[in-house]
């Protein structure tokens, strides 16, 4: 993957510094023009820690100037996310309260639209946007593992092992998506569609990295995971039905049917054996679990609102 096209003054300056390796002037980098400019810049800075860019030296992964820009952007982003948070439930009876919190959250549903109404072109656009996360599916949670106690660490591994295909690359969830993309005539190369990713997709992706890459936010990362898994089975079934209705290839449908079953397991693990265990050990992390959970629900709502409005559905 190459560095994306810039979307404003900040991304232009930062991406140029990344490509040339001349980062010393970044202390005087201009402020971002728009939220999209800021989020794309942050996305590219995080991406250095995943698969990186062919036109950026690996030496720059921990470049102090680039890390400095990243810190500024992620502090601002975290403040924005925290300001959006509602009140959280009381800490007693965590698992049941958590499932209720997620169930009571009634956001707009892209899966419902895909199920019954979406056109093939709309679904293809949605799949292109989903590549930004699905091609590195589960990776953001892997960052958290070394930061956990033995008990919570093992619980996360039990879930991640399934995400990574139980060790079989052909069953790895991100790889199932690659096959679906290829059979659907879409580009399966990592990052291929970053230039068309809207603000909401960048925010969703950046929130996962923010929580995954900052040890102090480990509870938010696991809360994000739990809400993400707990809102996956039903929508995945509707996605599969919509893809079938539109005649998408079997491999793409299977990606979603696999998630119906897998995530019915994962939501129980994420809520009970992962977040539940974490909170037994560290009860003061309760609000951060909900911070992550709310962020997952809210950012998906924002993306769904945008797309449904754009498609005037």
């Amino acid at each position: 993957m190459l560095t994306p096209e810039s979307r404003g003054s900040l991304s232009e300056v930062v991406f140029r510094a990344m490509r040339t390796g001349e980062t010393s002037g970044l202390a005087e980098a201009p402020p971002s023009d728009t939220a999209e400019d800021a989020q794309l810049t942050l996305w590219a800075l995080y991406e250095q820690h995943y698969r990186g860019f062919e036109d950026v030296s690996g030496e720059l992964e921990w470049d102090p100037q680039l890390i400095g820009v990243r810190r500024g952007l992620e502090q601002e982003f975290e403040r924005t996310l925290r300001a959006r948070m509602p009140e959280v439930p009381e800490p007693d009876g965590f698992a049941e309260k958590f499932f209720d919190f997620v169930a009571d959250h009634d956001g707009p549903s892209l899966a419902a639209h895909v199920h019954r109404k979406a056109t093939e072109e709309q679904v293809r656009e949605l799949l292109r946007h989903r590549t930004i996360y699905h091609l590195k599916e589960a990776d953001h949670t892997t960052w958290v593992i070394p930061r956990l106690s033995d008990r919570v660490k093992a619980a996360v591994m039990e879930l991640q092992f399934d995400e990574y295909g139980g060790g079989d690359p052909n069953l790895l969830h991100a790889h199932l998506f690659v096959r679906g993309l290829e059979d659907s005539g879409l580009d399966s190369e990592y990052g291929a569609y970053i230039n068309e990713a809207p603000l909401e997709v960048l925010e969703e992706n950046n929130a996962m990295s923010l929580f995954g890459l900052n040890r102090r936010l480990r509870a938010a990362s696991l809360g994000f995971l739990a809400a993400f898994e707990a809102t996956s089975s039903g929508p995945s079934r509707r996605m599969a039905q919509g893809l079938k209705r539109l005649g998408f290839p079997e491999s793409m449908i299977e990606y979603y049917t696999e998630h119906v079953e897998a995530d019915a397991v994962h939501e129980q693990l994420a809520v009970r054996t992962i977040c539940g265990a974490l909170l037994e050990e560290e009860p003061d992390m309760h609000d951060d679990v909900y911070f992550g959970a709310w962020t997952s629900l809210d950012l998906e709502d924002r993306y769904a609102e945008r797309m449904l409005k754009q498609w005037a559905a």
Binding site: F99, E261, V265, E267, Q268
Partner: protein
């Protein structure tokens, strides 16, 4: 000296050893099965587990029985 995990209730890092049951009954939800099992469904068909953990439907409403597909949450929300 601390013994192997399980003999003195402590793991190698000094953390108490955790419960790790083979079967977990989730309140209002599925039965989680750890490891390899063959599950016989209500019609006598056998289904082999293949995930590290599998969720067997207990509410009867799943569309992918014998596995859970999260439908129990809809029942729960309706107050059944």
């Amino acid at each position: 000296m601390s013994g192997p995990s399980g003999t003195d209730g402590m793991s190698g890092t000094g953390e108490p050893s955790a419960d790790h049951p083979d079967v977990i009954l989730c309140p209002g939800g599925p039965m989680l099965l750890r490891g390899d099992h063959v599950v016989q469904d209500e019609d006598g068909n056998e289904h082999r587990t293949w995930r590290p953990v599998s969720a067997v439907c207990r509410c009867g409403a799943s569309a992918v029985k014998p596995w859970c597909d999260g439908t129990h949450k809809v029942l729960r929300k309706r107050g059944n």
